[in-house]
Symmetry: C2
Subunit: 484 residues, 2 copies
Amino acid sequence: MEENKRKKYQKDKDRLSTKLGYLQRVLKDYGVPVMIVFEGVHASGKGRISNELLISLDPRYTRFYATHTPTEIELRKPFLWQYFVNTPSSSEIYIYYRSWYSLYIAMKNNTVKNERYPENRILLEEIRSFEKTMMDDGSELIKFYVEIDEDKQKKHIRKMYDNPRTMWKAQEYDRDNDDDYRKEMEAIIENDQKSWIKVTYADRYETVNEVLEVIIEKLEKRAEAEKKKSEAKKEGNDGFFDGKFPNILKKHEGDFDISKEEYREQIDRLQKEMRDIQYMLYEKKIPLVLVYEGWDAAGKGGNIKRVIQQLDPTGYEINTTAAPTDLEFKHHYLWRFWREVPKTGHISIYDRSWYGRLMVERVEGFASNKDVKRAYKEIRDFETSLTNFGGIVIKFFIHISKEEQLERFEARQEDENKVWKITDEDWRNREKWNKYEEAINDMISETSTEDASWYVINGNSKRYARLKALQIIIDTCNQKFLDK
Amino acid sequence: MEENKRKKYQKDKDRLSTKLGYLQRVLKDYGVPVMIVFEGVHASGKGRISNELLISLDPRYTRFYATHTPTEIELRKPFLWQYFVNTPSSSEIYIYYRSWYSLYIAMKNNTVKNERYPENRILLEEIRSFEKTMMDDGSELIKFYVEIDEDKQKKHIRKMYDNPRTMWKAQEYDRDNDDDYRKEMEAIIENDQKSWIKVTYADRYETVNEVLEVIIEKLEKRAEAEKKKSEAKKEGNDGFFDGKFPNILKKHEGDFDISKEEYREQIDRLQKEMRDIQYMLYEKKIPLVLVYEGWDAAGKGGNIKRVIQQLDPTGYEINTTAAPTDLEFKHHYLWRFWREVPKTGHISIYDRSWYGRLMVERVEGFASNKDVKRAYKEIRDFETSLTNFGGIVIKFFIHISKEEQLERFEARQEDENKVWKITDEDWRNREKWNKYEEAINDMISETSTEDASWYVINGNSKRYARLKALQIIIDTCNQKFLDK
């Protein structure tokens, strides 16, 4: 390229970089996570373009994520796990060098071993749900497909061959023919033209500036929209609790006591069976997710302890869910739970869970009406991702009566070894019993699915609830083993 | 076992559990991280004991870490990486089911492929340094070795054989004969008897209570010590800056300007060489760590950009170091840097780094005199872990004169595109120039080692500094390639 032209491009790039840096700071202040995807065939310039982009952005708030052959751990987690846990927080920009689309194509063509998803359709549905979930949550998603004419591509690769230090990379490209990739990507884009930006690689200078311009245009538009939104009135939680709901919990009230002797005999037997179940899960590589929800003092912790009592500690984790940390708060509310989904063959137990979105966050108004409505589907989709992958999801709601809760609160208050367990917040939550009751009933009816049902368990008798939970886990797992 | 005896043990266990729960809360309030290690041969009851321990502890503040065959990623990181990143925060207890000792033995016996550490002695030194670092930082480390007589062990394994669901695990035990492990562990303990507690597995009830009692005794002692410490006077930073130090920076002052034309020509050549270096690092599986320190406005960010300009973005990361997050603050200060060490073949660039401990933390008094003295060795050890693993560590201090800094501050203040880069803190730091100068000189003389030298680069001319840094990286890497 002639020197003058190069200088002009350089000057343009500097101007564009400054503008992009400015927009990054603006969107960071609005709390908008930005996801920029680069797909494209080998040696099409994706690397160069994203590198220039990285240089223009503030490294404190920018991450680069390269799609790679899945690691052992990634293969032991659901399809999109690696992407879900690598999404930007509300102050970050993520650049994806190849993305979930490349992974999808590799799985479709069995370049990446795919024994868990019999139908490709399922993978595409998960991609759609993932992108929608991110965008609904406020993420700006920009997807580029970089094309290059075949002569230029060949020239790029030949140049790598000529350099002894890069030869091995060119050889890799040769082995890994990407005609299949190109065809698949073209079909994907054909079906979803609006969401893709095609860029044809001309030369390093021209193409980088073209991409910068597109990104700037998108981010400017977004910044304007955010400005308008911030000036508009905030959405409220008006009329959300109307007291009208079929009371599912009611059906699970009453006394179900069990004698100490019977309990001891049964619990011992069930715990031994549970240990066998654990070994079977491990051998069959099935991940098990156990969700425990319930009123304060319903006995969730004690129930969980009885489940794990005879288990091998190398095969389960207990995840307790407290208020989100700063970093968690800056991500989609499911992000932290994605980070904890079990590996194949492992058991993940959640003492409180993502259902906080539909209980405390709804009752306290941290989640708007819209958020809550969206969360029903998002949570169903999240659990479907787990069951699509072959996992078992069992959800318990331990239900106690309001009177029983009062008795337990008072007993805790009087026991010096338990008084730390009860806080002012527990008392405040108790005052909102009716709101919680409505939220819980809505939650149960909206998120009970065929593969991930809710089990309401009467917890007035702890002994009954413990036996019941164990029995349900054992039966569900045994049923699954038979199905396989 | 007779029913009465069992009942007695159960009662004792309940009492011990309550006490342990109490101590966990006390030590959490004092901010003491607790590490409990269980080593022992197969089927010696480690799993049962640690499971009972887990049940006694508060799951919100307890983690269980099982040593496993290293994953691909773990094999691409230094020896103790998996443990360093899995250390408890100041409110947590970690239980290690097998530990760095098992990993050491597996590497010594080549059960885990060990091509990077020619001498086992190095691995043992790293273990000693790791444990010392953790304890110096306030961690309580309790190490158990669980023994079992051979008849009982055989009985345990036979029982697993008899159950079709656990048979495969017994078969694994059979294949994986652990006589070697036993011999090694006995030698290790022989050499370090004071730090180990031997427990002989009798039966589930008795042994669990014995372990609980030992832990309680240790934690009680620690709680008392913490109580005394909190009543004693706080250690100060008195007389720490005395203005007496050989001024290394002085040697790197003066003007080293370079013409635009010469710069353009050279930078282009060096950047292309740097790209080749990256490919070589990748091919030879050598991780490269680049540390950038320097005065505010010294031009670290711009220098880094010139290094990466022509690189493949899939092979480097830029780690910017801001004030620690809550979670980082609750760990050893090196913890967050351990989390970011490069994989083999990758380049990790640090824009500011662990040296904050010796600069801002010392100057601001966040680290005590004792902390700083300890940090010199800890940092040397940390970098040695990286070079032991075959990594290259290059550290730059970009030095500008006080006058040059003032000019740059003022220029930033006047440029609307750069004004966000300058904060009140920068001005405050400038007022402490002399203290920083002393801290930096001490840091450079205390942490320059043969394998991880400091390079002070005159940064008054940005062009000079950029060329110089690139040249040093290229020369150092090429030298390493020759050595290999």
